[in-house]
C-alpha cells in the first residue's frame, strides 16, 4: 500500500460523487438533455423528452399522410392517414412500402423524390389507384442521430377538379355568350361539358355528359369515317381544326342540315383541354336552294311551252290569213292576248288566277269604259296557269269575233258570261252568250280563230269548248278541267 495522496483522494471522491449525482439525476428524470461526444470529437446535444414520441402522436392525429425514411430509403415511420390515402393497411405500408400501391411511373417519381428530399425540399404530383391526385412532398429531417427524409402526402383531387371545372366553366361561358349558332364544348375525352340554347334545335335531349356522336347522329357524304361525329371531335382534340363540313342530322327536331366546324379548346395554357364544335343551321339555305332549282326548271319548261305556242300561233295564223296586214293584226292580237294572261299570272307568281280576271283582261280592251256591255254572273273560281293561258286565247278569239261580226260590232249588243261550278262535275263551265247584235248565220268558212276556240281547252279530256251560231247571237260553252280548278 503506497501512501495516500489526500488531494488526489479528494479529487477522485469529488468525481465519483459527481458521476453518481449525474446517474441519479438521469434515473430520477431530473434532466431532459444529454451532451454526447461524437466520433468526430464534437459535442452534440440530444434531448430525452420532446423526442419523436409527442410528434408521432401529433402526426397520427393529422389528416395528412406522413412518413419518415432513412437515408437508404427504408421506412422508419408512417401514419395511419398515409395508409388510408393509398388504400393500404398500416401493416401493408410497413411491410410493402408506399411504392407498392403506385403504378410503375409514379413509384419511380416517388423514389426519385426521396433521393432528392435528403438534401432539399421538393415535391411531385402523382395519381393513385382510384384516380385521386396526390401531392407528395419530401424534405430533410433529423431523427435522433439519424439523417432522414420527411414525406407528406396531400390529397389534392378536389382542388384540381375544382380548378379544372372553374377554368372550363369560365371559358365555356364566354364562348357560349358570344355565339348565335349552336355551340358544343367537349372535354379531352370527347364528352360534352357545355351546350348552348341553340343546340336544342339539333337534339331534343340534353347532350351534357354524352359523347358527341351518341348525342347527335350525323351523316356526311364523302366522309370516309364510319362515325363522322367522333372523327371530327377527335381531330379537333388532337389539335387539327375542322372547318365548314356540310352534314345532315336526320334525327334533329328542327335543324337537319348543318355546317359543322370544330376547333381545339385551349384554356390558359397551350395544353388542349377539349374542343368547341359550332353548328350553323343550313335548313333555310337548303330550302331556298331547292326552291330556286324548282323555279329554274319551271321557268325553262314555261319558256319552251310559250315559244312552242307562239310558233304554232304564227304558223296557223299565217295559214289562215290572206294578207300580210291581216296576219300582222291577227298575230299581234293573239300574242298580246297571251301576254295579258302572262301578266296576271306573273302578278300571282304563277300560282292561280280568277276566271273573271282573265275575262276582263281579254275582253276589257274591246269595250269602252263605263258601258255595261259585258255582264258576268255565277260563282267565280281560281284556275291554274295552264287553263288560264288556254282560256285567255279562247276569250281573245271570241272577243275579236264579236267586235268584227257579233254583238260588239253594234252599239246595242251585249255579251253575257255565266259561270257554273258544279262540284260533282269534272269541269268548271263558262257560257259566252251574245245578244242584241246583228243577226248571225253560221259561217261557211272556218278560220284558225275557230280552231283556237274549240281546241285550246282540249289539253285534257275534261276540257273543251262548243261554238254555236243561233241567229240572235254567238254562243260558246267552255269547260275548264276540274284538275286545274284551285278553289273559290
Amino acid at each position: 500500500m503506497g501512501q495516500e495522496n489526500p488531494a488526489l483522494t479528494a479529487e477522485l471522491r469529488r468525481r465519483l460523487e459527481e458521476a453518481e449525482e449525474t446517474i441519479r439525476a438521469i434515473r430520477e428524470g431530473e434532466v431532459d438533455a444529454l451532451v454526447i461526444r461524437s466520433r468526430a470529437q464534437e459535442e452534440e446535444v440530444f434531448t430525452l423528452e420532446g423526442g419523436p414520441e409527442p410528434f408521432r402522436a401529433f402526426m397520427e392525429a393529422m389528416d395528412l399522410g406522413a412518413a419518415a425514411f432513412d437515408a437508404e430509403g427504408r421506412m422508419l415511420y408512417a401514419n395511419a392517414a398515409l395508409g388510408d390515402l393509398l388504400g393500404l393497411t398500416a401493416d401493408e405500408v410497413l411491410v410493402r412500402g408506399i411504392c407498392s400501391a403506385l403504378d410503375p411511373e409514379s413509384a419511380a417519381r416517388v423514389r426519385d423524390l426521396l433521393a432528392r428530399g435528403a438534401t432539399a425540399k421538393s415535391s411531385v404530383e402523382i395519381v393513385v389507384g382510384d384516380g385521386r391526385h396526390v401531392q407528395v412532398s419530401a424534405s430533410p429531417l433529423r431523427v435522433g442521430v439519424t439523417d432522414a427524409v420527411a414525406v407528406t402526402l396531400t390529397d389534392i383531387t378536389s382542388r384540381i377538379r375544382e380548378r379544372a371545372s372553374q377554368e372550363s366553366e369560365r371559358a365555356a361561358l364566354a364562348i357560349l355568350a358570344s355565339a348565335n349558332e349552336a355551340v358544343i364544348v367537349c372535354d379531352r375525352e370527347g364528352r360534352i361539358t357545355h351546350a348552348n340554347a341553340a343546340v336544342a334545335a339539333i337534339t331534343a335531349e340534353s347532350p351534357i355528359g354524352k359523347t358527341f356522336s351518341s348525342a347527335i347522329n350525323l351523316t356526311i357524304s364523302g366522309f370516309s369515317a364510319a362515325d363522322p361525329g367522333s372523327e371530327i371531335v377527335a381531330r379537333a382534340i388532337g389539335g387539327t381544326p375542322v372547318q365548314g363540313i356540310e352534314a345532315a342530322a336526320p334525327d334533329a327536331p328542327k335543324c337537319k342540315d348543318l355546317l359543322i366546324s370544330a376547333a381545339p379548346l385551349r384554356i390558359g395554357s397551350d395544353q388542349i383541354s377539349g374542343c368547341v364544335v359550332t353548328m350553323v343551321d343550313l335548313s333555310q339555305r337548303k330550302t331556298l336552294e331547292q326552291q330556286q332549282l324548282l323555279l329554274m326548271g319551271e321557268l325553262d319548261h314555261r319558256v319552251k311551252n310559250t315559244l312552242a305556242l307562239v310558233l304554232s300561233i304564227a304558223n296557223r295564223t299565217a295559214n289562215s290569213e290572206e294578207t300580210v296586214d291581216g296576219f300582222q293584226t291577227a298575230f299581234s292580237g293573239r300574242i298580246q292576248a297571251l301576254a295579258a294572261t302572262h301578266n296576271i299570272l306573273a302578278e300571282c307568281s304563277w300560282s292561280s288566277v280568277r276566271v273573271a280576271e282573265v275575262l276582263h283582261q281579254e275582253v276589257g280592251p274591246f269595250i269602252t269604259t263605263g258601258e255595261n256591255r259585258l255582264r258576268v254572273s255565277g260563282p267565280d273560281v281560281r284556275i291554274r296557269p295552264r287553263a288560264a293561258i288556254a282560256l285567255g286565247l279562247v276569250l281573245h278569239e271570241l272577243a275579236t269575233n264579236a267586235v268584227k261580226y257579233g254583238a260588239l260590232s253594234s252599239p246595242d249588243g251585249v255579251v253575257a258570261v255565266n259561270f257554273t261550278d258544279n262540284p260533282e262535275s269534272a269541269f268548271f263551265s263558262l257560257e259566252w252568250r251574245e245578244a242584241d247584235g246583228p243577226r248571225v248565220a253560221e259561217p261557211n268558212r272556218f278560220g284558225f280563230g275557230q280552231t283556237v276556240i274549240t281546241r285550246s281547252l282540249q289539253y285534257s279530256v275534261d276540257g273543251g269548248a262548243e261554238l254555236e251560231y243561233p241567229s240572235e247571237g254567238v254562243r260558246c260553252t267552255m269547260r275548264i278541267p276540274r284538275a286545274d280548278v284551285v278553289g273559290a
Binding site: T22, A25, D32, A33, E43, V45, E49
Partner: protein, 100 residues
C-alpha cells in the same frame, strides 16, 4: 477573528453558470427556479450566466457537462455542480452553501 474567517470574502458575488439545451421543459424550469432562489436568498450578491448548449455545444467542455440542465457554482471556489431543474430549493441552497 481568525476562527470566524470564511474562505471567501462576503462581498464577492456568487458566480453561477447554468447550462441548458434550448427550450426543453427542464431547461425552462431550471432558469425560473434559479432566478427565484437567488432573488430570495442572495439578493444583489449573485451573477448568473446562462449557456445554451444547443446553440454552442462545444462550451460543454469547460465544465465537462454531460446532463442538462446543470448549474455550476464557479465562484466562490471550489467549483460545485448541481444537476436537475433546481426545483428542490433546500438542496440547491445546501450545494451553494449559502447560509454557511
Amino acid at each position: 477573528m481568525v476562527e470566524n474567517a470564511t474562505p471567501t470574502t462576503p462581498t464577492e458575488p456568487t458566480k453561477l453558470v447554468l447550462y441548458i439545451a434550448g427550450q426543453t421543459p427542464k431547461s425552462i424550469s431550471a432558469i425560473e427556479n434559479l432566478e427565484r432562489i437567488c432573488a430570495e436568498h442572495l439578493p444583489g450578491r449573485y451573477r448568473i450566466e446562462v449557456v445554451d448548449l444547443r446553440k454552442s455545444p462545444q462550451l460543454a467542455r469547460e465544465h465537462n457537462i454531460i446532463a442538462i440542465p446543470t448549474l455550476v457554482r464557479e465562484l466562490p471556489t471550489p467549483i460545485r455542480k448541481i444537476i436537475g431543474d433546481l426545483s428542490d430549493s433546500e438542496k440547491v441552497l445546501v450545494h451553494l452553501s449559502v447560509g454557511d
